[in-house]
Subunit: 354 residues, 2 copies
């Protein structure tokens, strides 16, 4: 091991409603590298994925949807690492492991039943770069896959809208929709540069810059027959406008609501939900946890497309554990293009390429 | 025929957004009774049903969901009547007919294809009172039936919430939910008297007076494990609160949004739609037009329950065509208890009782 200490980001405080999460909510610490007890193993972090839901951990521990963290706790977060010490026979040194590693160099892990098996596991076929398991083969890819195909019931020929299309899940959803036979995929993003990237590199049919374009007018033009499937990552005004442009029997797959995640004060919901009635349309919430068992099905398809050159691995890599707070903040300010990951250590040697 | 003239309510003007619809938007007129041409027949109105959607007709003709009416047009509305003159062999004098009769004593009708067959038809087994075909065997009953069973996918054992539960569709939905095996049905209404009626006469398990009770606290108490199915007629703040009390995999069947129908100014949508995500829940719009072909299936079940004494025909009858504007207004002010109908003429003699 090159590191003698376990560098960590710990929770320093909770953001107020409406406050952007950032550096001041975390505290840098250096702790001893822990030793595994019987049944435990030690994982050295190779890369971490910040996610918008992580802002939700920054609250007092409770029984809510997202379990809060106490001030002083190591920040929770998903990552990929390598087992560097082990007192568990099924988790030998050298294996690659994905799970809840925390924002730190080293974490002790132990099997914890079904949840552990599905969400946290040894990778049987790890590929280089290991960040792939956090991007197109990770939660971003799999969330987009099941959200589109199961929750959204994507049909070949559908006209599909994706919000935050240049974001982690959105960049995957945009590509998967095209690859699964959508007749038209339109992405919404926050800059002209992202819009160009969506069209040139990810193959979407059109892109809308919500900061400068008239979104309603664009949707009217891009979807003369209405939107069949809206994969929504943002909520807020974009959702409200999109609801006004649904086709008959349209489905809205609700993946997130990042535009309202740090909005303070009284917030307006989508008054155009009323359009669901004449359109016989529906809005469906979903959570990727429900699809753990089917993860391999998505992974196999996504890896196949990637190897065939049909799917772009949209990873946006920051380097260094110290950058994790900034990576999280950037998700809310639109700083990333594709799936944001933070590389903490080099890939282990000897892994095959995808 | 006893009437020598065709008394009519015609459109006099359109309500402004936020304005309660009422007398001033209609003009009383007396026209000659028309004569059927070849292929037509004349129906004498026996009873009419006002409906919240009728406010939507009071706008300039366009291609919207509800076709608007011009100023001077006879007000559109559904009713039951008897054929009193005919030049169509399939629609002989004496038959009972349900369809779009308008707010008037007499209307000329002619078959117009599939839409006509399903929504507008001779009644093969008319029963007394003929208002039954506008209440529990009419659009109110059938809307509640398919909204609960198809759109809402009601399961035995479900915990069900119904808003505007003392209204036309709501009073039917409350009863159907119980009869179809819901473990718990809670109704929301606008007076203590309505709440008592829901519990005593319609068999709901509990009722909430939204004007005086703390709705959120009541839902918390009435649904400790959450709402499985919410049949919503009102939208607005009630919907928003209910979304915060959904069980996992809950369904919201969106029947209407009467609370926002005449609200002026900027309106807030249900910000708690975000709860659909952690609850893996869904909201579904539906329109009863889509179920015309299956109407007999609902009608047979509802009539069976009624004959067995299990279903109350909740009709709230006004007498006299002149009262139609007031009947419509009352839907928006909570004046009715059960399905509002307006009797324009006595039932024809010789009809069987239900």
């Amino acid at each position: 091991m090159s590191a003698k200490v376990n560098r960590q980001w710990r929770v320093a405080g909770y953001p107020e409603p409406g406050e952007l999460v950032g550096d001041r909510h975390f505290e840098w610490a250096e702790a001893p590298v822990p030793e595994p007890d019987a049944g435990e193993f030690l994982v050295r972090t190779v890369c971490l994925a910040p996610g918008p839901a992580q802002r939700g951990y920054l609250k007092a521990p409770d029984d809510g949807f997202l379990q809060g963290l106490a001030v002083g706790d190591v920040m929770r977060g998903r990552g990929v690492g390598q087992i560097v010490a082990s007192r568990h026979p099924d988790y030998p040194v050298g294996e690659v492991f994905v799970g809840s590693l925390g924002w730190q160099d080293y974490s002790l892990q132990q099997p914890r039943g079904a949840e552990f098996v599905y969400s946290t596991k040894k990778l049987t076929n790890p590929i280089r770069p290991l960040t792939s398991h956090l991007t197109f083969l990770g939660q971003a890819g799999v969330t987009a896959w099941f959200g589109l195909l199961e929750t959204g019931a994507l049909q070949p020929g559908d006209h599909v809208l994706v919000s935050a299309a240049a974001g982690g899940v959105g960049s995957m959803a945009s590509q998967i929709a095209k690859l699964k036979g959508a007749a038209r995929v339109v992405g919404i993003a926050g800059s002209d540069e992202k819009c160009r990237w969506l069209c040139a590199d990810l193959g979407v049919d059109a892109a809308i810059n919500y900061r400068t374009d008239d979104v309603a007018a664009c949707l009217e033009r891009q979807f003369p027959d209405g939107i069949d499937l809206f994969f929504d990552n943002v909520g807020g005004e974009i959702l409200n406008i999109a609801l006004d442009h649904l086709a008959m029997h349209a489905r809205v797959a609700l993946c997130g609501f990042i535009s309202t995640n740090y909005a303070g004060g009284a917030q307006q919901g989508p008054i155009n939900y009323r359009r669901l009635i004449p359109r016989r349309a529906s809005m469906h919430g979903f959570v990727i946890f429900d699809f753990w068992e089917r993860w391999p099905e998505a992974e196999a398809a996504l890896l196949g497309w990637y190897r065939e050159g049909k799917l772009v691995n949209c990873e946006d890599v920051a380097h260094g554990l110290e950058r994790m707070p900034e990576c999280l903040t950037g998700l809310f300010t639109g700083a990333n293009r594709g799936v944001k990951v933070c590389r903490v250590a080099p890939d282990p040697v000897g892994l095959p390429d995808a």
